[in-house]
Symmetry: C2
Subunit: 343 residues, 2 copies
Amino acid sequence: MIAVDKPPTIADVARLAGVHKATASRALNPRTSDQVNAATARRVVSAAKRLRYQPNTLARSLSTRRSATIGVLIPDLTNPLFPLVVRGIEDALSEQGYTALLANTDNDPEREQTQFEALLSRKVDGFILATARRDHPLLRQAHQQGTAVVLLNRSTDEPLFPVVAGDDAAGVHAAVDHLVALGHRRIAHLSGPTAMSTGFTRGRAFRSAVAAHSLAPAETPVVECGSYTEDSGAAATRRLLAEHPEITAIFAGNDMIALGALQELREHRLDCPGDVSLVGFNDMRFVDKLVPPLTTVHVPHHQLGAEAAQLLLDQLDSPDRPAKTVSLPLDLVIRQSTAPPRS
Amino acid sequence: MIAVDKPPTIADVARLAGVHKATASRALNPRTSDQVNAATARRVVSAAKRLRYQPNTLARSLSTRRSATIGVLIPDLTNPLFPLVVRGIEDALSEQGYTALLANTDNDPEREQTQFEALLSRKVDGFILATARRDHPLLRQAHQQGTAVVLLNRSTDEPLFPVVAGDDAAGVHAAVDHLVALGHRRIAHLSGPTAMSTGFTRGRAFRSAVAAHSLAPAETPVVECGSYTEDSGAAATRRLLAEHPEITAIFAGNDMIALGALQELREHRLDCPGDVSLVGFNDMRFVDKLVPPLTTVHVPHHQLGAEAAQLLLDQLDSPDRPAKTVSLPLDLVIRQSTAPPRS
DNA sequence: GCAGTTTCTGCAACCGGTTGTGGTCATCGT
DNA sequence: ACGATGACCACAACCGGTTGCAGAAACTGC
């Protein structure tokens, strides 16, 4: 183990350049470098270069009270949607010199709270909350203490914070329209948990979409899944087929549920799309590799993340701007899991 | 916008408890709380509770010179392997009060360097490098300045740092053994880029495995893919089939390459596993949902991450411990993309 | 040549914690 | 009754930056 000489501080740079550390600080900061003589500024810069000086971010944040860091709360990085949105967030943030601090909540409200506080004590400048629950005391609390927050793919009953999300309602309508256009009339919806904001709004949109086509509730049953998982989707499909064997199309609350449905259809020796058509939601990676490739509503997750980050940065710049809300268009990508019903 | 009163500092707590902030600090820290009278300690604690005091992590790190933060460098979060290992890292770290700071390098050596420095200036206590290149000046540099580093799924030509990785050689042997046991003798390998540590070692292991079965190099061709992507895998397969139409089995450098191969086989109207068997590597999510479900070498990514984190923490505790290296066993999961060759 | 600016740089305080040192006071032994 | 011991706490310095303020030097105009 070689003797570790600690990294140089601004005092070292100042000493080498023969100036006071305050001057060195100003010389190195582009915003203040015009307060110092060009020649000395050059001396400082070259001293910094020689020492390979890297400012201590912690010390800087402590004194400036700005950390250039954003807390990002997501349910679970392992869920295939989130890497995309996180990448979107990071890409947008890094363009402006910001960094993301990630935390997983596993959809546990308590963890959500503790992680939030941990990030606060790390002095993040703001939050992007991509957690799924429809409501949480956290939100009111954060709102009251004036914390900058942007909600991603999740809305609250009252508009406390700006939200960026896909236009789920439009996506649902596109999916239903597609099925109806193919000739389906008995369409089921496997909804996500209504405790989650997406499950709730997509379910509502489904009701409205089928109503728009004058389909009776009796031929358009909704069964709620306990979670956005394959197992839960399979179980729901089992219940659905038991009670409504006559349906010819399924619109799943998301792709994981669709995956479970596909599995269960296979168990029941039902061909997809021959016997029943299937539409998913999200267009997650690899669903185009399934057999049959899944028709699904594409959600631009990367862009979702990027927009959320941008919105948050805007808000940090000018805190009293109205809480604009972004809704990204979604489009249906038609693959091979949908076809006309057998007549 | 409500008036934001800044979060309480330890000085506020001390004032409320009627003690000096040094005393408050000691009272709040379990390691030093026995240096203060039990009664006053209680006063401090309850004052802290009343004010909802949360220590400022930045200030603490600045003075203790320990940030309880680990820098994690990965190529791309969007690559389906990494969410798993990141989760493993985070789970292991959080158990000990540490946090991970993530950065993507996109396999760009320059980005790797700048991200590394950015993390250094954030005063991370150590690094987990899961980037893929076989060598990088960074490593020597980090080694010289005594930075704590653990390499994940990547090795260097000289043993500068502890490494945790899957036992790739064993995995490759298992895959080849399986194919040979099925009766295959003309087995091709679609290797990953040899500039990457995994591509290199798996390729070498393949050579050794086929040699162990006395298969001639002429019947066991290796073609190198430019990258670990589906497209690259498809292109390599095209070349392979042009030059060696007689092969009956393909062992792919990873699952993405296998995906490309599968696609290309389909283009050539070759049935898998009827005409050619296919084995992947990694067992990424959803490869069990392909048609046919992919036979592949399972890599415990979560555990890989967790072990790396643990190793790093151990090393931080006792810096001059020998650089132990962890090699996790890998096992082949046999699904339906492999079968005996047509006789 | 002198008052008034402007430009440049140093001083010192501050951000919010941690920790070494030393002083006060009660307790103890003799 | 008095010095020694130890428990407890306050003081102050420090981590490595940033920034308001003031003073020195140079420069302006008259």
